[in-house]
């Protein structure tokens, strides 16, 4: 077992619990933006794709990494963009007057 495995397990467990506690507090009103926001945050896999493509080891891994960059970066850009668009639409009765 690699030595980092256990420290990653710790990180996963703490982040998972943290996520559960944070997300339980999100109003059901915002469940759609919640999904698009977490999607955009998840698109951070783009950093791994950048490294794989940039290491330029074999043609196959470079191509896979390059496609992964486009797929995840489009989630990052599109996800934040649409979340903000949705959230801008939520207004109270008072704010409208």
């Amino acid at each position: 077992m690699p030595p980092d495995f256990i420290s990653n397990v710790y990180v996963f467990i703490v982040a998972g619990f943290c996520g559960v506690e944070l997300i339980k507090r999100v109003s059901p009103l915002l469940h759609t933006p919640l999904m698009s926001l977490t999607n955009a945050l998840d698109a951070i896999v783009v950093v791994a794709a950048i490294i794989i493509a940039g290491r330029h080891e074999t043609a196959l891994t470079t191509v896979l990494g390059a496609i992964a960059i486009a797929a995840s970066f489009s989630n990052m850009v599109g996800g934040f963009f649409i979340t903000d668009r949705m959230l801008r639409m939520f207004k109270t009765g008072k704010a409208k007057q």
């Binding site: 944070l22 915002l30 933006p33 999904m35 955009a40 998840d42 896999v45 797929a71």
Partner: protein, 462 residues
């Protein structure tokens, strides 16, 4: 600077990104601070991406830059879609996220082979299987939501056995690879089998179950990213994946509770096929129907109106007309609230977003538990394109397939009006006794056209 020195700075950047991600979700808890949440997420992601570009392992930038530009070029239009298309956009983004996690896992295997250890192989195998099945499963879900594929469940005899056998085969291949990670020829077969399982998993699921399925796929996409973090020993991926995964998981639990069903029942239950025969056996019963004039007359004298929107409102694109109705009633001093069932529509929160887009103030959008006690004091409950979530059989009829599902108590209002195309039950084929009740009026027609007519009546009587 040494390579190790640069790495240290990169780690600081990733820690900053993780802090911002957690703040991002924290601020999303309320509509007042939610936009700060988006900003925090954007800054965190920007820091992480910018820092990564300084990683000394990178020897070639050309493709990185080109693909980032292409990614932005695809992402911006996907961020500009209409609000009615948000469920399919979300499913598509789960597909993209899972695909990139799977592709990176695959690349990592080929970088390492033949020096991949058994432990790494186990991690990569699990990661690639989950990523691949989430990719095709999400594509099928997006196809169903976009109505390229039929929304009704597609089922055949022995389906669950076939699906589980395919999943079993993928796992078996992964185990064989763990036994000897150097058998590179098995790897593409494992990926293909996992891709096939994703198709088999989602094809039998009907449109009404989409809120649960989309949440489950969300959670799989997140967990595949977290697993990728384990493979690459990247803590920022572990954290982001765990946050996304737990978010999808919580939403799935909420959706399942709101339908009184279990995960296995949603995934392997193939809702609808059993119940069609039962519904067909029912005899014709009388219903009372009303015209837009009648409906407007009743709404006009009401003091409290609760509108119950469902997927039918989204299909008819009636949300803006519903807002006009809301305005017309508010102007007459009527108290108007919206009752939102957790599984109304095709994804969690779908109705809230549509109504917010139409400028309905969000303080008038009430959750089921918050509004159910109000129905006995409500003069008119107006159901627009919702069906199962208003079905009183869920409370009393033990033989109903939705028995036990929490529903909106619309029948307790003095008058219940239901806008519906016809008496034809939906694909789930579940009969709704609400339609035959004495205080129920059926308003037959297209949701948008009918609401438009009611609004016209209300304004002409001014």
């Amino acid at each position: 600077m040494t390579i190790a020195g640069v790495q240290q700075y990169l780690d600081f950047a990733y820690v900053a990104a993780v802090i911002l991600f957690i703040l991002s979700l924290k601020w999303l808890s309320s509509p007042m601070t939610a936009r700060w949440g988006v900003l925090a997420g954007e800054i965190g992601s920007a820091i992480a991406v910018a820092a990564t570009l300084f990683n000394p392992e990178i020897v070639q930038y050309k493709w990185i830059i080109i693909m980032l530009i292409i990614g932005a070029g695809v992402g911006i239009p996907l961020g500009l879609v209409k609000m009615t298309a948000v469920p399919q956009r979300t499913a598509l983004s789960h597909a993209f996220g899972a695909a990139s996690a799977a592709m990176i896992g695959i690349a990592e295997y080929y970088v390492g082979v033949p020096h991949v250890t058994r432990f790494q192989m186990g991690e990569i195998g699990l990661e690639v299987i989950i990523g691949s099945l989430t990719f095709t499963g999400s594509l099928i879900a997006a196809g169903k939501l976009q109505e390229i594929l039929p929304q009704r469940p597609i089922v055949y005899r022995g389906q669950n056995i076939v699906s589980l056998a395919v999943l079993g085969l993928a796992v078996l291949l992964a185990i064989l690879m763990v036994v000897n990670p150097a058998q590179a020829w098995l790897f593409p077969i494992m990926v293909l089998v996992a891709l096939a399982f994703g198709v088999l998993l989602v094809t039998p699921i009907g449109g009404a179950d989409m809120p649960t399925v989309i949440s489950l796929l969300n959670s799989y996409a997140g967990f595949s990213a977290a697993l990728l973090g384990f493979v690459l020993n990247s803590k920022v991926l572990v954290v982001a994946g765990a946050l996304d995964g737990s978010s999808g998981f919580i939403l799935s639990v909420i959706m399942c509770k709101a339908m009184n069903r279990s995960f296995t029942n949603v995934l392997f239950g193939a809702f609808g096929q059993v119940t069609t025969s039962a519904a067909a056996a029912k005899e014709e019963r009388p219903v009372r129907s009303a015209s837009p004039e009648d409906a407007a007359g009743i709404l006009e004298v009401a003091r409290k109106v609760v509108i119950v929107p469902g997927y039918g409102m989204a299909v008819a694109q009636a949300q803006h007309k519903v807002r006009e109705l809301y305005d017309a009633l508010i102007k007459r001093g009527v108290d108007v609230q919206f009752a939102i069932h957790p599984v109304a529509g095709r994804m969690p929160g779908h109705m809230n977003v549509l109504l917010a887009e139409a400028d309905v103030p969000y303080d008038h959008l009430k959750e089921m538990d918050e509004i159910n006690g109000d129905f006995p004091q409500t003069d008119v409950a107006l159901v627009i394109g919702a069906n199962d979530v208003t079905n009183p059989a869920a409370k009393i009829d033990k033989s109903s397939p939705i028995f036990g599902m929490p529903v909106l108590d619309v029948e307790k209002a003095h008058t219940t009006m239901v806008i519906k195309r016809s008496m034809n039950p939906g694909f789930a084929g579940i009969d709704n006794p609400l339609y035959y009740m004495e205080n129920t009026l059926m308003l037959f027609g297209d949701a948008k056209a009918f609401v438009t007519n009611i609004v016209k009546q209300l304004s002409s009587q001014n």
